[in-house]
């Protein structure tokens, strides 16, 4: 174990994957030589270590980058490609949604696509809506794609390694708002299983599910909630697809309440799926309404004052939990 930033943990995962499997290569805009000379970047130093054959800087061509991953993975390689910011995934979405996610099914199981897409997400750095737009629901809604969203450096490393060696396409979301966060990271080749949520903080009155940086918004709210005598069970989802359904249902059956928190737009957001799932499968256990906390239905604003309105804060989590409690 040692203290690492998120970026360093991701860098360690990429390094290990490339060391243990010659079929792993990385590609993307600036994965070799970047405009940022930042040792905290996940791809920092990889070009020097592994050379130009395996670390491929690409032109600004997201469809070609994603197509590279789909085609190369079908030939037995394990591509790890980077789409710089989440909104740019729209340019790669034909390759991901229509091809990575569908071609195995349509081949009758003959082909497989063990590719990984790393994508940076996050709201709160003033770049506005074409660099910040969390589209996890698009991905999760599309069959054949997996998507994970680590919230700690340890999981960043473990989930990325699992994604790279998973036999199916996985999108790994890297939360920009967490990139400088530090945490204990295990050494060596660690794998966090896809599809396993974890309890961050146990509780009895209300289950709160979050992922990515939203998890820390929830943690910030816990003190106030506890002062109000409300005991919350906080779940870090980690993996949206596969989704650890039983884990969430078990918690909701215990607490009788559910609040979902994410930074994506609330409308048709991933929280809607969790709310529907709990309503369908644990209705009898519910003691109150399921409440979703998410962004209003506007593009991500640029001004800090507007960003603050867009991003759910701890006070919104507190009022959501109170609402779920009927208070």
């Amino acid at each position: 174990m040692s203290q690492k930033t998120f970026g360093q943990a991701l860098n360690e995962a990429l390094t290990i994957a490339m060391e243990i499997d010659e079929n792993v290569f990385i590609a993307g805009e600036g994965v070799g030589v970047s405009i940022h000379q930042d040792p905290n970047m996940p791809t920092h130093g990889l070009l020097k270590k592994f050379g130009r054959r395996r670390v491929k800087d690409t032109p600004v061509s997201e469809a070609a980058i994603a197509g590279l991953a789909v085609g190369a993975s079908c030939m037995g390689l394990r591509p790890v490609v980077e789409i710089m910011f989440f909104p740019f995934i729209t340019l790669a979405s034909d390759m991901l949604i229509n091809h990575a996610g569908k071609l195995r099914y349509m081949s009758g199981g003959k082909s497989s696509f063990p590719l990984t897409v790393r994508v940076k997400a996050g709201v709160g750095f003033g770049a506005g809506s074409q660099h910040s737009h969390n589209l996890e629901s698009w991905i999760a809604h599309s069959p054949g794609l997996k998507i994970v969203w680590p919230a700690t450096p340890e999981d960043a490393k473990g989930l990325l390694l699992s994604a790279i060696f998973d036999p199916d396409p996985v999108i790994v979301v890297e939360d920009l708002m967490l990139s400088r966060m530090t945490g204990e990271v295990s050494t060596g080749d660690i794998r966090t299983p896809l599809g396993k949520a974890r309890v961050v903080s146990p509780g009895t009155d209300c289950t709160i599910v979050a992922y990515g940086v939203a998890l820390y918004t929830v943690i910030e709210a816990l003190k106030t909630l506890s002062e109000q005598g409300i005991s919350c069970e906080v779940i870090d989802l980690r993996s949206l697809v596969p989704l650890d359904k039983m884990f969430i249902l078990d918690s909701v059956r215990k607490t009788g309440r559910l609040v979902v928190v994410h930074e994506a737009n609330r409308f048709c957001g991933f929280g809607a799926e969790l709310a529907a799932m709990v309503a369908e499968e644990a209705f009898d256990a519910l003691k109150g309404p399921v409440i979703r906390v998410g962004a209003p239905q506007i593009p991500v604003p640029a001004a800090p004052t507007h960003e603050k309105i867009f991003r759910p804060g701890p006070e919104e989590v507190v009022s959501a939990v109170r609402k779920a409690m009927g208070k």
């Binding site: 290569f25 054959r53 491929k56 690409t58 032109p59 061509s61 469809a63 070609a64 994603a66 197509g67 590279l68 991953a69 789909v70 085609g71 190369a72 993975s73 079908c74 030939m75 037995g76 390689l77 591509p79 034909d94 390759m95 229509n98 091809h99 071609l103 195995r104 099914y105 349509m106 081949s107 009758g108 199981g109 003959k110 082909s111 497989s112 069959p143 054949g144 997996k146 036999p167 199916d168 599809g195 697809v241 596969p242 989704l243 650890d244 359904k245 039983m246 884990f247 799932m277």
Partner: protein, 332 residues
């Protein structure tokens, strides 16, 4: 180089391949007119047989093919099994993809027809990936991607050509210019009359060929496949041909001048080649009849095979999405 480097055996194979494709697709036309025989959109390449046959015959077994919605000819020229191909086109359980591809998404990785994409233009970025893998593994082999003049308008094709050009990938782009993109004539959807000239902009050789002359297609196919194989990078062929039927079988071609169809019918790649082989004493009328009859028989057998195969059962509807099914209690 001899006057005609194409040996008689090969010439017979080229003819046999083209007539098989023609008969196969003519049968699909006939079956499409019967109720409930052919699910989905049947999209055919009648008139374009010389391109599929000429290019595919120029390849080595390790070479990879990425096809598109007009894929039957590419698959047949590559030697795909007729029975399981026809069954798949009928979306049957014994089809080459278990009925999950249907006519539009056929893939036979066993013979290196790695993927087809019906998203117009999408084959090219996929082909970049396949060619990259060949290059990366240093295993030899090239990738060929077939696409139409319509697809040449897609941004993804340009992204792929650019990337292939930068990385010098062993990738042969084959644009089958069949004069139509849907109901739009070439000059309505393409800013240049000569798509192959775009190759220059991506630093690769680009050539135009009479796509209804199978030997010309084969010859240029061999030449540019060799170029790609030698490590010089990608290359581009524009084969000029004609889409003799509508975009799909529902399309009655109301927008096509019948005179134009007649002109192109007179340039039919199969009739032309048959005459040439007769003139050159490579084949006799009797041998041609035997080859045609054999194609007819193989297609009849394939249809019977497809007819006998059931549709896939409910037990396979939910499989093959992921390699490993999720454990219980996990969605989706």
């Amino acid at each position: 180089m001899t006057e005609n480097p194409i040996i008689p055996d090969l010439r017979i194979r080229l003819y046999t391949s083209m007539i098989l494709i023609r008969r196969f697709e003519e049968k699909i036309v006939a079956l499409s007119q019967e109720p409930n025989r052919m699910p989905g959109m049947q999209i055919l390449a009648n008139g374009q047989e010389a391109v599929a046959t000429g290019i595919v015959s120029a390849l080595e077994p390790e070479d990879v093919i990425i096809s598109n919605h007009r894929s039957h000819g590419h698959l047949l020229a590559r030697g795909a099994d007729l029975n399981s191909l026809m069954a798949e086109i009928m979306a049957k359980d014994n089809g080459v993809n278990g009925g999950k591809a249907g006519t539009l998404h056929l893939s036979v990785p066993e013979i290196n027809v790695l993927m087809t994409s019906t998203v117009v233009g999408a084959g090219s970025p996929l082909a970049v990936g396949a060619a990259f893998a060949q290059h990366y593994k240093r295993a030899g082999g090239i990738t060929v991607v077939f696409f139409g003049d319509g697809a040449a308008a897609e941004g993804s094709v340009h992204e792929a050509m650019n990337l292939a050009g930068i990385w010098k990938l062993p990738l042969l782009f084959v644009c089958e210019n069949n004069c139509w993109a849907g109901a739009q004539r070439h000059e309505e959807h393409c800013a240049t009359p000569h798509i192959f000239q775009r190759a220059k902009g991506y630093n690769m050789p680009g050539r135009s060929v009479d796509g209804n002359d199978v030997e010309a297609v084969y010859t240029i196919g061999v030449e540019l496949a060799e170029y790609c194989r030698s490590g010089k990078g990608p290359a581009f062929i524009e084969a000029l041909t004609y889409r003799m039927r509508g975009h799909g079988e529902q399309d009655r071609q109301h927008y096509v001048d019948p005179g134009e169809l007649e002109t192109w019918a007179a340039r039919c790649p199969i009739h032309r080649y048959r005459q040439k082989l007769l003139d050159d004493d490579v084949l006799t009328e009797a041998k041609i009849r035997a080859i045609d009859q054999d194609a007819e028989t193989r297609v009849t057998v394939a249809v019977a095979f497809g007819d006998e195969s059931p549709y896939p059962g409910p037990e396979t509807a939910l499989t093959d999405v992921f390699v490993q099914p999720f454990r219980e209690g996990v969605l989706p």
